[in-house]
């Protein structure tokens, strides 16, 4: 009875206000969380967004309980001291987990990689399948499932293969020393001019890379739209070779020219070897 006697009208009103405020704030938090999910919908997977949503709501509920308890004069010192001690232990135990989570958040907001992009991270190449809180999932070009901790992703050099709209293709082809380089250059440029995914600007370039032992090495350089880079790179090289050969430009095998100064000694040496 004493308990009920201590409940005054003001207290009831206060409790009602606290409850109403809780539900109003919860609705606001849910709306905010929904907005965040909408903004991140094409950057983060559905599962990660659900986890993020629950994380935000639980953080709000815990903070609200702490605020309300202290408002009603309940002493939280003991609880906080216990919490502090527990945090130290949990902190040591979960150092890596926290590091990975924070790195995960940075990855989500800085967006150096996006879902579906082709990337190279710490010697791993493939498509970004998922960016989770603790790790990033890569599907390698060979189809393997690779999990990289987010801390490692964040601190590694990331090469994003599909972030830019165009990429360069480089080929080196050797032609015979007896062939005319200008003619070969003209044939290649003319061929590239008719390829729809070889960009007209920046213009393709063909130049002598170096004089090798068996060939004059020609460097062919052109740009292609990123979406078509792989197929263009793979398709054109054999056709360039055929084009060159059809126009009388030879691609030589490695050759070695041996000059013999004393034929008599050489014949004697050959005969000895044969016998």
């Amino acid at each position: 009875m004493k308990f009920f006697d201590s409940i005054t009208t003001e207290k009831v009103v206060e409790i009602l206000i606290v409850l109403v405020l809780f539900f109003v704030l919860l609705v606001i938090i849910k709306l905010l969380s929904k907005r965040i999910r909408f903004i991140l919908r094409d950057k983060v997977s559905f599962q990660t967004l659900s986890v993020l949503n629950r994380f935000i709501i639980w953080i709000f509920i815990i903070l609200y309980i702490f605020v309300i308890l202290s408002y009603f004069g309940i002493n939280l010192t003991g609880l906080l001291a216990l919490g502090g001690f527990a945090s130290i232990i949990i902190g040591f135990a979960t150092q890596k987990v926290v590091g990975n989570s924070i790195a995960g958040l940075f990855l989500i907001f800085e967006r150096p990689i996006k879902l579906g992009q082709s990337v190279r991270i710490a010697d791993v190449s493939g498509f970004v399948e998922e960016i989770r809180f603790l790790s990033t999932i890569i599907r390698s070009f060979e189809g393997e499932f690779i999990r990289i901790p987010n801390e490692q992703v964040f601190t590694s050099i990331i090469i994003n293969l599909t972030e830019n709209v165009a990429r360069r293709v480089d080929y080196i082809i050797g032609i015979h020393y007896s062939n005319d380089f200008s003619k070969a250059r003209e044939i290649i440029l003319n061929f590239l001019n008719y390829q729809k995914f070889v960009l007209s600007a920046p213009a393709p370039e063909v130049f002598v890379e170096k004089f090798s032992s068996s060939s004059v090495d020609i460097h062919i350089r052109f740009w292609a739209p990123t979406e078509k880079w792989y197929e263009t790179k793979n398709n054109l090289l054999p056709i360039i070779r055929t084009e060159l050969e059809n126009n009388g430009i030879n691609i030589p095998y490695p050759q070695m020219e041996i000059k013999i100064h004393n034929l008599k000694d050489f014949n004697k040496f050959s005969n000895e070897q044969d016998s």
Binding site: V165, L199, S200, W223
Partner: protein, 241 residues
């Protein structure tokens, strides 16, 4: 088999087969479907099935130069000879632009897009840098003060107005347009469009498509790209002219 020779844009009765100097296509009825086959001279052939309906007409119209396997809506027009625009000057002339031939089937209720044919060569170019530039459909054209001859099914005549509102002389060698907002008008023999470029400085120019003049006897092409009501129809060239 009923065959029709095509040499003009327009509406034709629905028949089995159609042929022009540059392409041919046919519809073969099998059960409740139509087998559509097309060939482009020097280009690709294609066959696919479409649902059968009581089609009355086939519409052959000039359309946006959209390439289905790399659907970019920017058009990079490189001029054969650059134009020198004096400060506060205006120049009007003509250039050509590439087209796509759109084939529609029409019944009593609606028109259905069947295919897009590319007769003019397809090339692309990068405007700007690889990180934040644009991949554009590329076309090299000459600029003329009088109308240039165009090739049916391949090119359209574009009226071009260039205005230099800056205080310096500017050399124009290329113009980029967003053809998501192009307005193509055509009669039997020619397709025409109009574009305007307003040069603000050496690195900044606004371009847009407008409605061409003298449209008596011309029809407007059916848009392939839905108009975006809330976005701007202007393209801002910020990487030089």
């Amino acid at each position: 088999m009923q065959k029709l020779f095509l040499s003009k844009y327009g509406i034709y009765p629905f028949l089995d087969s159609y042929e022009s100097d540059k392409f041919s296509f046919s519809f073969l009825k099998e059960n409740n479907s139509l087998c559509y086959t097309r060939k482009v001279v020097g280009g690709e052939s294609k066959t696919f099935w479409i649902p059968f309906d009581e089609y009355k007409n086939v519409i052959i119209q000039p359309s946006e130069p959209l390439v289905s396997d790399l659907p970019k809506t920017r058009l990079y027009l490189e001029l054969d000879e650059p134009l020198s625009m004096f400060p506060d000057s205006f120049l009007a002339g003509f250039i050509t632009v590439p087209l796509t031939v759109a084939i529609f089937l029409e019944n009593s209720k609606k028109q259905q897009l069947v295919d897009l044919l590319h007769i003019s060569p397809i090339k692309f170019a990068l405007y700007g840098n690889p990180h934040n530039g644009d991949i554009c459909r590329y076309w090299k054209t000459k600029f003329s003060l009088v109308p240039i001859e165009t090739t049916i099914f391949e090119t359209a005549l574009m009226e071009l107005e260039i205005e230099n509102v800056s205080s310096s002389a500017i050399l124009v060698s290329k113009l980029i347009f967003d053809f998501a907002y192009i307005k193509i008008f055509y009669n039997e023999n020619i397709a025409k469009i109009k574009g305007r470029a307003k040069i603000q400085s050496e690195t900044y120019c606004e371009t847009e498509f407008l409605e061409p003049s003298e449209l008596n006897g011309f029809n407007q092409s059916i848009d392939l790209i839905p108009t975006k009501l809330l976005s701007s129809s202007k393209y801002l060239m910020t990487n030089g002219l």
